[in-house]
Amino acid sequence: MIFPKATISEIIGLLEAVNDSGGIEDAARLAADFDLDLQEILPSIDGAELLGFAVVTDGNIELTADARKLLDSGIRERKNIIREKVAGAEIIKELRNKLLESEDHRMKKEDALKFVQERISSDDIESYFRIIINWTRHAGLIGYNSDAEEICLMAKA
């Protein structure tokens, strides 16, 4: 499986840019608008697709109704929408289940890295781990304690 190396902020930034173009935009043109190479925005496009905020056909990025709802919402409400979407991503669903099954809802970072490596084959698993934690912290689902080097389920605020 491929997991996009894009933060939630980058993904929302991309959606905002597509929205400025009327809800649909050519990916190459959008990259050029930002003085970026297409390669540089691909992870954000993949992220938007994975979270159900965009559909990509023939190089065109089109916003979904959920993306419009997200963009019309304030910062608080956006968090709730993100939470719901991130919770639905396959790898995060599995990781949460694993944490739920464990006695104290915690997992050592090295075990979490192994878990990610089994699903995303990469020699740069650390940066995938960071992105997954970026998503799950945003969503208030899974946190990471860098002192204890362990991830844990977050209590819903």
Binding site: T7, S9, G13, E16, D20, F34, N145
Partner: protein, 248 residues
Amino acid sequence: MLAEIKNVSKTHESNGNTIQALDNINFSVEDNDFICIVGPSGCGKSTLLRIIVGLERPTSGEVLFKGEPISTDNPKVAMVFQNFALFPWLNVTENIELVLEPLELRGKKAENKACKYIKAVGLDGFEKVYPRELSGGMKQRVGFARALAVEPVLLCMDEPFSSLDALTSQNLKDELLMLWADTSMPPDAVIMVTHNIEEAVYMANRIIILSPRPGKVVADLRIGLERPRNRKDPEFYRWVDKVYSLIV
């Protein structure tokens, strides 16, 4: 009137040479002003901002805040920095609580205040995280939360988006404008320095253009575009062109 920049000039001494950075700057800041200061690089716009918040003294002239000379410890003026300026050994909450100490806010009160602004900028979930673990976008959100937590009347920002990648920067600009549109939130006025003309037209309701060094005010424009603004709108581009033409 909230603040007044009166006849502000600044000269630097360098290798025995005197360099004039700013030349007789005058303007006033009113409630609801979102001012962007733009100008070619080296025109002294960041120096001007540092003088406005009291971090530097002008060679001549003065800055008045609500009629009184500005001082560095004025809690009604807060600053957001380009490079975030977070303490690496403090977590998100601690970075914010630190600025509340001089306001005699400690313990539970400080925690509640920090919590309020952490939520306002969408940082909840990151409370105990250290800066090294944060992406640039999240670091600058801490910068915003920390500045807002003192509930400033005037918020000054020095190139707050220029250390961020283009997409993150787009996201943060929109979120900052959402906070600005929320009248229950501080501040009453913003002064932001940027080298990016499009960004200035996107954010500001007033743009002050400085000349090349020594910086002088060459134009003070009211941007009449409705919000939310659309970067693809032809009217938006007319404003961008207008500002460009005044700078070059």
